[in-house]
Symmetry: C2
Subunit: 415 residues, 2 copies
């Protein structure tokens, strides 16, 4: 087992967690050699460890691994790239950086023979990347569905339990340290879609950019939506999912979804994350744990460091396969949509409507719409619309013509 | 990626599952070359695949891997041993064989350079062995608790839902295919303690024999016990667990346990398995999936075959560590005990008693007892006693003298 010397970038919540965790993991043959921070100030670690000069870490031949837990994705990329080129392994928690540069990181790893590991970047303490990479042959894998963002899960929980609107619930989450001061990355689903991209690469060998995936967050969810979920004994969760269709292609998106009580994701509470992996021969397998926070994130980083001691690297096996999977948007979704103004709902975009409730102030409908239509035209993300996927809301094929005509008539009659 | 030719031993429920799964996993570079069965009869596979002569498989130089899914542990050991010595990898589902011969299997793997993988032997579809081996450095690992036997979980569920006694519930489980025709291995906790031994080796690097671990099954659980669990909003589950104590030593046992509603194990229903891994820095992580059955077991075997294609082997890393863990029985348990005859309850064995309920026919008590006393003297497994661990029932230290005297007085008063 190798002895590893670490250069740590960042000493915020996660960086301090890594420092503490390694202090308490004496069995691991790892030591923090130097810590790079943005500014000099008193810290909870010996002053001689700290520097503000990143070059000192990146060029020190005594440092084997750069652990990078900073907020700035662009700076993280420069650090990771230089570290690999300088013959150092990298452990990173920056999902955005990894997703933005995954192709280049693959090339850099091949060129340098060094590894970048990033288990902490998706679902923190849950070893989901490692399991997808190592355990689930892509022919076994049907789909995955996950609650991968703890902040939004916490906020949705507060909206339900304390009957708050999203602004109040977000404020409470911020006060308790479960949401960032700028919560938009979480609320709008950007954090979730980044993680979804990471999972896609290791689940199916598909490298794609978040902008190619349909996503929205929980920003438009109203107390009325929550009340409707409650009335059906369901919860609303922000779910990232990828499903293999009968054609063998994969469809992927991040949307709020009604989750029924018998679904294991229903039980994912507060800031926890949970991922359901569906396989051809063993139905559902469920992985559950803390998805954020100082020590849970540090825990995954320590596991990556332990793996590096044994020479572990992601082999991206599924990327090397000739029969690797491809993405498709040719699928239909059964959705719920609540709206403040019936006149702005584009009924003609739907294949058919199933329910149409016009109440005072705000109405809602349920119906089936092509995923591609949601991508092509974003009317449903404007004007106070709130779109939520139904349970089991993926429909592979639709026999539409008559049904569609009928439902449009129905809609015409109702309004 | 290597192309692997398989010799399959056994074509029962699991063997047929393996055959079917591989038929449907064309992407995997694996083919079944020959199948060894005990007797010739019509089978759901081409007749030319079958033989009753094990030597044909074990000596065929064209066969790379022996997959062994037979019932007879002694025959399985002869097959695995010969296969390794003949330069073949082995994939096995025989927990009993592996546990009985783990030391020899370690030596054989070292001597031959060949691997034996056995993910399917513990919790079938859940990749718990691989995660313990690869992901959880033993310094990170505090404990694990698991429902590792689906039959007993199914039976306990039936006892609760349909208010059956254990005999009726077992009969129903047998009729539905969730219990063996001889259910004693499951009911008495033997299957669970075998799996517990496997988990111990990969969690903590401890190789031990089931007979060195305290275990009992659900054979003595009464409808009255279930009713008491219900009245407390708890379930009774058969739980295998290993916990690291503050001394760094590990305590391990398999006992029925009251499980509270907020415990993730509470949600493990029917024939499912679930394992909670507690780590120092990330609290609890939970793994859940089907723990038995034809295709779930086959699914784990296919994953092992896929791993072999990539040259994977268990490295038993924790066994190589100088600071590896050791077992201890120096711990106290908070237990519930129901009994038909108060006169046969050995009150003096307890450190103290907390409750004592004498009702018509059958009474129960709760109290604290040393684990070593449960091991040394098995009175509590005879005469209709039913011993169930309380939630959070492990107590590291006990200040006893006064409390004990007091509780014995109390017991004396009550009886």
């Amino acid at each position: 087992m190798k002895k590893l010397k670490i250069g740590l970038f960042g000493f915020g919540v996660v960086g301090q967690g890594v420092y503490q965790a390694l202090q308490r993991t004496s069995s691991l043959n790892v030591s923090i050699h130097r810590i790079c921070v943005r500014s000099n100030k008193p810290r909870k670690a010996p002053a001689e460890l700290f520097t503000t000069d990143r070059e000192i870490l990146l060029t020190d031949p005594g440092i084997d691994v750069i652990v990078e837990v900073i907020d700035d994705a662009e700076a993280a990329w420069q650090i990771a790239r230089t570290a690999l080129l300088n013959g150092k392994h990298v452990v990173s928690a920056s999902k955005k950086m990894i997703v933005e540069h995954l192709g280049e990181l693959l090339d850099l790893q091949t060129a340098t023979g060094k590894s970048i590991l990033y288990e902490s970047a998706a679902c923190a303490s849950i070893p989901v990347i490692r399991n997808l990479e190592e355990y689930y042959d892509h022919s076994l894998l049907k789909g995955l569905r996950g609650i991968v963002n703890g902040s939004t899960n916490f906020i949705l929980g507060k909206m339900k339990e304390e009957e708050l609107d999203i602004r109040q619930a977000t404020l409470e989450a911020q006060q308790l340290g479960f949401a960032e001061s700028d919560p938009s990355l979480d609320l709008e689903g950007i954090d979730a879609v980044n993680k979804c991209c990471l999972l896609l690469a290791h689940a199916y060998g598909i490298v794609t950019h978040p902008s190619d995936i349909l996503y929205t967050g929980i920003q438009a969810i109203t107390p009325g939506d929550i009340a409707i979920a409650l009335s059906k004994n369901q919860d609303i969760k922000l779910v990232a999912q990828a499903q293999k269709l009968s054609t063998g292609q994969i469809t992927v998106f991040v949307l709020p979804q009604f989750v029924a009580k018998q679904d294991v994701l229903y039980g994912v509470r507060n800031e926890y994350n949970g991922v359901v992996i569906t396989t051809h021969f063993a139905d559902e397998q469920f992985f559950y744990g803390k998805g954020a926070g100082s020590l849970p994130t540090a825990s995954a980083i320590v596991s990556d460091l332990s793996a590096l001691c044994y020479g572990y690297k992601y082999e991206y096996k599924k990327l090397q396969r000739s029969d690797r999977n491809s993405l498709t948007n040719e699928v239909y979704l059964r959705v719920y949509l609540s709206y403040p103004d019936a006149g702005k709902v584009r009924r003609q975009e739907f294949e058919w409507l199933e329910e149409w409730h016009q109440e005072e102030g705000r109405g809602y409908l349920t119906g089936v719409i092509a995923l591609q239509k949601l991508i092509d035209n974003r009317w449903w993300q404007r004007d106070g619309h709130s779109l939520i996927l139904q349970p089991d809301g993926i429909i592979e094929e639709v026999v539409t013509r008559n049904l569609r005509r009928k439902s449009l008539e129905l809609a015409g009659l109702v309004i």
